[in-house]
Amino acid sequence: MTAVIETEGLGKRYGRLWALTNCTLSIPAGHVVGLVGPNGAGKTTLLNLSTGMLAPTAGTIEVLGSRPAAGPAQLARVGYLAQHAPIYAGLSVADHLRLGAHLNPGWDAELARSRIERLDLNLEQKAGTLSGGQCAQLALTLAIAKRPEVLILDEPVASLDPLARREFLQDLMEAVAEQGLSVVLSSHLISDLERVCDYLILLVASRVLVAGPVEELLATHHLLSGPRRDPGSLPDGMEVISASHTDVQSTLLVRAGGPVLDPAWTVSEVGLEDLVLAYMSQAAGRRRRNRHLEVQK
């Protein structure tokens, strides 16, 4: 099966600043991919490279087997919803649907109409007077009715209230179930994505720290607690992601290929949010140490 997004040494530089460096990914089709990371980590840059709105400074990227925005056929297969639900404030809901039909060869007018009906949107209403949740739903309608094979969404729920957020994700998951489309969506909050994603990419400070199926990530990370000891004494093949110690106890979050057999440890499962936070603070600690070294020099 062709990968949805495949990158090799991908990088993007703005002036002297690298927004994304050495990014190598292969995302299989049929997933809902969560692209997570703090603000400014490079999420939007990666998404803009995927849609062809930015050209790479280094490396290569392919979406559905060809260069992003390579031509009309490739554009028709990729749906994109930019941050802050872009709509035309001066156009009515009906205008938006006409626009969608006019611009997209694979437009599903029936799907668009039934969604607008179910959302109870007034066709004559100007989009600028819709609520935030309604705007997001209108933008999602356009993106879904285009009938893309992959749908890319940049922070789709960040600005929505909890109810609108839930409704948006419900409709997105319904579309995934009905149309079998692949989805890539970004958020700086893992809790937004925990239920919907089955594939996770963690981007911190312009680098990919973690990428893989959620189930696999959860199965290979464990939280260990036990009598205090030096993390250096752990067996090979076990990588410590985060560690905290009291005078008597050590608590470690580790990545391990196999089961943890040492009876001294109490092993418990790790949630996705804890896992992501552990990697993020590990990266932050490393940056702090580097800065410290530079100051000493």
Binding site: G30, H31, V32, R166, L169, Q170, D171, L172, M173, E174, V176, A177, E178, E194, R195, V196, C197, D198, L218, E269, G271
Partner: protein, 130 residues
Amino acid sequence: MIEFHLNGRSGVAPYLQLIHQVRHALRLGLLREGDQLPKVKDVAAGLAINPNTVLKAYRELEYEGLAAARPGIGTFVTGTLDGGSLAAHGPLRRDLQRWLARARRAGLDDESIEALFVSTFRSAAEEGIA
């Protein structure tokens, strides 16, 4: 038709929560052989969860012999978990209600009742094994 719900704080994987709810409904007789399980699309849309999570739960139930998928129609219950004991549920429930009323009169609160039940249940189970 049953309706699923998810507890985000329980720490139990969502697909396992779905499986538990089907098994629970089978035990209580809320689901019987031949009943249809909610459609994958409806569960995904209703709970805002990944459809693959629902599919995984249904596949697991199929593997356990409790459900079977009919392509294009849906997934249906094919097994039972009540072990033919459903008829006994009524009288047992009434006994339990009487016992609960006595426990409350004796001044036990919800937590004490639950703790007493669980510890008695455990020790009875252990004696059963020995």
